[in-house]
């Protein structure tokens, strides 16, 4: 049984991080270059960590499966990044950002982590502005803000609808600088396929070069995973097609605990599915909810009609009706479920009936078409590209889609997993968003972890490792891990199956969406727990992976990833089944208030569930870490 010590420092909430920074161990500058750190992933968390650690003097090796670090999926975040700058003078503060984030997460995150996140949010904006990130500005040259879901202040910084891109390019530029300076050794097209654990500590990884197929061993004094979320377990999601859970899943199989996998975020504003061939769902930024009004027809018989022909009196602006104080800006999970309820009632829009209208006619009347274009032009263009409809003329049709996973590898306050030496940052860890993430908080967390947390906390671990003590890559553990990887490759290529990998991924996605999507039931989850192992068996018997292992082979890459998704999907359902409450992104139909809101059970489930691998075919172990709320009261989340 894994020991889950959160190592949360004692003392008043607002002083914990300062105090912790003063108390943890340091590595002296001359010794830093004697340590090698592996960073896997180069999204916001990975590239900011790699750059910052190299600036400090550590020797960093950065591995990315993309052809360039700039392609990581952080780049697709549209809306913005939160920071408690209070530049708007509207009453924002570190405490308020902390509170909003904790409440937005439905009281399932660690208080101390969330408070630290809010504290460093202000440094992030400073850092990014200094890097030349072209944030939106007011005419006086100062930074502009907009508001986002789940907050009543305007604290979101943005760069048009491409904030993630600009922040990532900022972090990428910092990383590029350190690559140029020799501080970071960059390995592109390199996928981590196993974690090497030596004497209980994470000391290296096994990597496959996706172009040449060469498998190599890399040892280090510490390993950092910043490999993103596992939303593609649903196949259709707003994730990039290549986003995968392989790094965290293989680490899980080496003993790292996976926490709260059932906390998956369904984003309310995505473009609805149009056909079976569909490979991806496209997000329309939450910022659209600032000016767009969401509605469905009041009457079922109007559902298939042209929206323009539906009179104002026959429209149900359901978010404004149910949540008068937050209206269209209520949190994502709340908005998504409300949209689902409307569609379940038969009032959904469009050919499929799975859609609600996001209407800009009021905004166009108020701001003019040019005003709306200035704010959201690129999003309207994206919508037009995909649907061939102009949202200036007719309301957008939107539907919820899987967008983010709050769960991830368990980490302590230092962002270290239960395997010493293995650190996990960004979406890949579980730490800061609880059961639901607020808009514009993912970018904040990724950069907080990479720029401002890990550079301090990794020192505490490394200071306890003797310089030069990392094991050589010819140790038995490395050899065994490499053989493990090569064997898997061989098995896939030799398999006498008939169906392409995508066939199984689609089926897994449908199972997950049906039984473990926006609304979950005990019965559905139990069904899924029967069907997924069967699918897994069928996959291994019948998957066809053409080509060879010593060249670029995208089918082989996908096969490994889908194999992991199937196993992770099972764990996700298991977690959802055992969490007998509803909270944030985890909604169990059996546990709801009469108005359809989440009914938490703080008594029984006010804890983190961290799953521990017990070997193939064995039921994993459910460890728990109690959430001790010292400063805040777990209360009923209300956006009414």
């Amino acid at each position: 049984m894994a020991k889950l010590d959160s190592k949360t420092p004692a003392g008043p909430l607002a002083d914990k991080w300062q105090k912790h920074k003063q108390e943890i161990k340091l590595v002296n500058p001359a010794n830093k270059r004697k340590y090698e750190v592996i960073v896997v992933g180069a999204g916001l968390a990975g590239s900011s960590a790699a750059a910052t650690l190299a600036e400090l003097g550590y020797r960093v090796k950065n591995f990315v499966f993309h052809d360039s670090p700039r392609r990581a999926h952080s780049i697709a975040a549209q809306g913005g990044i939160n920071a408690a700058k209070n530049y708007q003078n509207d009453g924002d503060s570190v405490h308020r950002l902390f509170y909003d984030t904790l409440k937005g997460g439905d009281y399932r995150a660690r208080e101390a982590n969330v408070h630290r996140l809010a504290e460093v949010s202000v440094n992030i904006i400073d850092q990014c502005a200094a890097q030349g990130v072209p944030f939106a500005r007011e005419y006086g040259g100062l930074l502009a803000n907009r508001s986002f879901g789940g907050a009543q202040v305007s604290r979101t910084f943005y760069a048009r609808g491409q904030t993630g891109q600009q922040l990532l390019l900022g972090a990428y530029s910092a990383l590029s600088r350190m690559v140029g300076a020799g501080g970071v050794e960059l390995h592109t097209n390199s996928e981590m396929l196993d974690l090497v654990v030596v004497d209980g500590h994470a000391k290296g990884i096994i990597v496959r070069d996706l172009i040449t197929g060469a498998v190599s061993r890399h040892s280090a004094d510490a390993v950092i995973l910043a490999t993103g979320g596992y939303g593609n377990v649903f196949n259709l999601s707003t994730y990039a097609r290549q986003s995968n859970a392989t790094a965290i899943w293989r680490a899980y199989k080496r003993g790292a605990c996976l926490a709260n996998p059932c906390y998956t975020q369904i984003h309310p504003t995505c473009i609805p599915v149009s056909g079976d061939y569909q490979s991806k769902l496209t997000l329309m930024s939450e910022s659209l909810r600032n000016d767009g009004r969401i509605w469905v027809p009041k009457k079922k018989e109007d559902a298939k009609k042209d929206p323009a022909s539906i009179a104002e009196a026959d429209r149900d602006y359901f978010l404004e009706r149910i949540y008068p104080s937050f209206g269209n800006l209520c949190p994502r999970d709340v908005a998504s479920r409300a949209a689902k309820r409307m569609c379940d009632e038969g009032r959904g829009a469009g050919e499929s009936g799975l859609g609600v209208y996001l209407d800009f006619s009021d905004a166009i009347n108020r701001l003019g078409e040019a005003g709306v274009r200035e704010r959201y032009g690129n999003l309207f263009d994206i919508y037009h590209e995909i649907t061939a409809e102009s949202a200036y003329k007719t309301p957008m049709r939107i539907y919820p889609a899987v967008h983010y996973t709050m769960g991830g590898l368990w980490v302590d306050y230092n962002l270290m997993s239960n395997i010493p030496g293995l650190f996990v940052l960004g979406e890949a860890n579980f730490s800061d968003h609880g059961a639901n993430r607020l808009g514009a908080s993912a970018l904040m967390q990724g950069l907080a972890d990479g720029y401002f947390v890990i550079p301090y906390t990794i020192g505490d671990y490394l200071a306890q490792q003797k310089p030069g003590s990392r094991p050589p890559a010819d140790r038995a553990e490395f050899k065994q891990a490499e053989e493990n990887v090569t064997a898997m490759t061989k098995r896939f290529l030799a398999n006498q199956g008939r169906e392409p990998v995508s066939h199984f991924h689609k089926r897994l996605g449908k199972l997950m969406w049906e039984y473990c999507g926006m609304a979950r039931t005990k019965q559905g989850l139990e069904t899924a727990l029967q069907k997924i192992p069967a699918l897994r068996e069928e996959f291994h018997a019948n998957v066809k992976v053409p080509g060879s292992g010593d060249t670029l082979n995208q089918s082989l890459e996908q096969a490994g990833r889908v194999a992991d998704f199937i196993e992770l999907g099972e764990l996700l359902c298991r977690d959802a089944l055992t969490r007998e409450e509803s909270c944030g992104g985890h909604f169990r139909e059996e546990y709801q208030h009469p108005d359809g809101e989440c009914k938490r059970d703080d008594e029984k489930f006010g804890h983190v569930a961290a799953w521990e691998y017990q070997g193939e075919g064995q039921t994993p172990l459910r460890n728990t870490e109690p959430l001790n709320y010292e400063f805040t009261k777990m209360s009923v989340r209300s956006y009414k």
Binding site: A51, T52, E55, H66, D67, R70, R71, A72, I75, A76, K85, I125, D126, Q127, A129, A130, Q131, G132, P134, R137, E138, L142, A159, Q162, L169, S173, A174, V179, G180, L186, T188, I211, A240, Q242, V273, G275, D276, Y277, Q278, S279, K280, T282, L283, E351, S352, L354, D381, I382, E385, I386, T387, A388, F452, R498, P500, P546, G547, T551, L552, S555
Partner: protein, 270 residues
């Protein structure tokens, strides 16, 4: 979760460049595709064709793709001679089959340039762009050393123009479209973005030298001001940034000849 479509389906032929590896010769292969839904994306059609090839015992077409929403810059097909295909201001992944007609033959090739060697089929190595960035595409600011964000006001007009340049997704379509395989639009976008911000001034001259030098060494061609680059740019970045790059470079060159250099430059602290 998917309703049957009322859209009229059609057929096309994909004529795809197949090349087993960097050193092997390549050739075109025809793949017929039926039941194409106009709402399908071009890459989704490639997915479907690839599943068919796999089932038939062949090796699927390797193509680069990731976000499928036009922002990561991974996808990189030249379709009917035009990088990212018909349409304006889109990446390959944002191309939908409604842009084609029944019976069309669609020719699909990789981005072609000496500096972007083909790795397999439609996948090319664009790491030259990363090298250019590593040479100078940054503002040197150590983490934690930044002043308060509002202590450096940036005129809105400059920030907006910088953002226009910064929108570059690094896909390489500019190189692929250029008759000379020149990377000027990419470098111009990077240099302009940072050069337009007050934060970018201290390293401005050094940056433009380093980036142009690395660009030259990577084997790209030279700009002949034909603006094929901006015509295919998925983010419609204007070639006026190339004029800005030229201006920056020449200015830096002349300044470098007259600016005195401290004797102590490069010395360490005591």
């Amino acid at each position: 979760m998917v309703a049957p479509t009322t859209k009229k389906l059609f057929s096309v032929t994909l004529r795809v460049w197949r090349q087993a590896g960097p050193a092997q010769p390549g050739h075109f292969v025809d793949y017929p595709a039926a039941n194409v839904n106009p709402d399908m994306s071009f890459l989704e059609l490639l997915d479907v064709v690839n599943d068919g090839i796999t089932k038939d015992g062949g090796e699927p077409i390797a193509f680069a793709h990731d976000c499928r929403e036009g922002i990561c810059g991974t996808c990189s097909c030249t379709i009917n001679g035009k990088p990212h295909g018909p349409g304006q201001g889109i990446a390959t992944c944002q191309l939908y089959m409604r842009s084609f007609a029944d019976g069309d033959t669609i020719v699909v090739e990789p981005f072609r340039a000496r500096a972007f060697p083909i790795q397999k089929d439609l996948v090319t190595d664009r790491s030259a762009f990363d090298q250019i960035q590593q040479a100078g595409g940054f503002i040197s600011v150590r983490t934690g050393a930044a002043p308060d964000a509002n202590s450096i006001p940036v005129p809105k007009e400059d920030a907006d123009l910088a953002m226009d340049a910064a929108a570059c997704i690094g896909c390489g379509a500019c190189v692929a479209a250029c008759k000379n395989a020149s990377a000027m639009l990419f470098v111009a976008a990077k240099v302009s973005h940072l050069g337009l911000m007050p934060q970018g001034q201290p390293e401005r001259d050094k940056r433009v030298f380093a980036m142009v030098q690395t660009m030259d060494a990577a084997g790209f061609g030279n700009c002949t001001n034909q603006y094929e680059c901006s015509a295919v740019c998925p983010k419609t970045i204007t070639h006026d940034f190339i004029a800005r790059l030229n201006r920056d470079y020449l200015g830096a060159l002349f300044r470098a000849k007259f600016k005195p250099v401290s004797n102590a430059a490069g010395g360490g602290g005591s």
